[in-house]
């Protein structure tokens, strides 16, 4: 026993138990192997809050993309999305692409979308609230963010249903692989074929919509290629939809099953949905993992990670770090040891409290963070207005899970039935 009891067999990362409940293994990593060399999967894992936070902010040592000696990059999403911003690592091109649309998602531009978000939430709710019960995932959360994003892009509303279908196929392909992946790629190709004439039209007659802005943006006199524009759109549909979709389901899951006592507080004061969002992002965020490649030797915990190594930043573990958060395994919307308000890319806050790591930090901080919070809080607040006395339809729930958590599988309940009074 003793030291040996704390050894970790890397095959545990592939076990169904870990996919379902990774937190006990996270704790063993934090306590006994804060820098773990996983020889089986040929990678390194970082699991403490301070280490994950520092790695996110250290662009000199960690890059989002692995640059090969002969030029091209290697990263795991281009087979689905085509060339896209995630491929460009820490480069100037990445920053340029991000700047084209950052103002829309982060800054003052976001305010102009709020009436729109409200409208789409209202439409969907009207459609699914008639029966005194609703399956939230399929009837609402799965449809809401994707409809918002396709409207922001200025895509025709008549084609929205098709986008929902393409989006769902793309996401299933990323999450499950196999024949799902084949269907995902078929959906992408169909979507691209559909988009091409629309993009050409926007290039000729650019409007105020986001698709026009992406199509005509220039860096040193150069526009994005057609493939890059399509890749960007595919990524926005997927990234802008899937994560927020699952965040909404997770927020409701935790209110209905994890903390029904605190749900009473939220019913009295719906502005607390903001806190539910923050605590959900800490306790069990939709995304638990980000990967980086070392651009030079990195010394950490008295060991050396060689250059060009794959390093997994376990933000899902950092968020449960007892070195930072009291009672980290308790879901608590009234937490006083975390910044509960809007997230900052800098991880710096005027209240001097630590923030959750659910969106990452720094250069590759989630682009849609402000949009996601806005959409999720608006959706949940509207739902509370139309559903009286919402409660779980079933006394027990199989809980939140993920198809493959440490290769980026998103965590959410598969189904969530809510019962309410007319």
């Amino acid at each position: 026993m003793g030291a040996l009891a704390n050894e970790i067999d890397p095959r545990e990362f592939d076990s169904p138990g870990y996919q379902k409940d990774p937190f006990p293994l996270y704790k063993r990593l934090r306590d006994h192997h804060p820098l773990f060399r996983d020889r089986f999967h040929n990678r390194w894992l970082i699991s403490r809050y301070d280490d994950v936070n520092a790695a996110f902010q250290d662009n000199e040592s960690f890059d989002r993309a692995l640059y090969k000696v002969d030029g091209p990059y290697e990263f795991g999403s281009s087979h689905v999305f085509g060339p896209n911003i995630l491929e460009y690592g820490n480069s100037d091109r990445h920053r340029w692409l991000r700047n084209i649309i950052a103002g829309q998602f982060v800054g003052q531009g976001l305010v102009s979308f709020i009436p729109f978000i409200e409208k789409i939430a209202g439409e969907l709710l009207e459609d699914c609230m008639g029966d005194g019960e609703v399956e939230l995932v399929s009837r609402f959360s799965n449809q809401f963010p994707i409809r918002v994003i396709s409207n922001i892009l200025g895509l025709p509303r008549a084609d929205e249903e098709r986008f929902v279908g393409w989006y769902q196929a793309l996401i299933a392909g990323l999450g499950f692989g196999g024949e799902h992946l084949a269907r995902g790629i078929a959906a992408r190709n169909e979507m691209w074929k559909y988009l091409e004439p629309i993009i050409e039209e926007r290039l000729r007659n650019p409007g105020e919509d986001l698709l026009s802005k992406i199509a005509v943006a220039e860096l040193d006199g150069q526009r994005m290629s057609m493939d890059e524009v399509k890749g960007f759109i595919a990524l926005l549909l997927a990234a802008g939809g899937d994560t927020t979709d699952k965040a909404i389901a997770n927020m409701w899951y935790h209110m209905l099953y994890t903390r029904p006592d605190q749900f009473e507080d939220v019913k009295k004061d719906p502005s607390l949905w903001e806190n539910v969002f923050a605590e959900m992002m800490r306790y069990d965020a939709v995304v638990h993992v980000q990967s980086r490649y070392t651009t030079r030797e990195v010394v950490m915990h008295n060991r050396v990670i060689p250059e060009r190594s794959l390093v997994i930043l376990l933000l899902g573990s950092g968020n449960r770090d007892e070195r930072v958060f009291a009672n980290p395994d308790t879901f608590d919307i009234h937490r006083t040891d975390m910044h509960m308000g809007r997230e900052n890319r800098s991880a710096r806050y005027k209240d001097k409290l630590p923030g959750h790591l659910g969106f990452g930090v720094g250069q590759h901080f989630c682009m849609g963070y402000a949009m996601a919070r806005q959409e999720a809080v608006i959706a949940c607040t509207r739902m509370m207005e139309v559903m009286k006395n919402p409660r779980p339809k079933f006394a027990t729930h199989e809980g939140i899970s993920s198809p493959n958590i440490d290769s980026g599988g998103f965590r959410s309940p598969q189904e969530l039935w809510i019962e309410f009074d007319g």
Partner: protein
């Protein structure tokens, strides 16, 4: 063109620093500050306008003289 930051409004989001690192940095008190006193080229001015757009708290001010 000159850029100033209203530190009462600034929420330390860091959008300006990460999106336009040649123009902004965090100072020792973790507050955003402007690195370039006078912007002269069109590219610089475009970037300054982008940075004002991306600031979530509306703390960035541009001055034409």
């Amino acid at each position: 063109m000159r850029v100033t930051i209203d530190l009462d409004k600034c929420i330390m989001a860091g959008e300006c620093v990460y999106n336009h690192p040649w123009l902004y940095e965090f100072n020792d008190e973790n507050q955003a500050s402007v690195k370039v006193a006078l912007l002269t080229t069109d590219d610089q001015k475009l970037a300054a306008r982008q940075s004002r757009e991306v600031c979530p708290s509306g703390a960035i001010q541009l001055h034409d003289n």
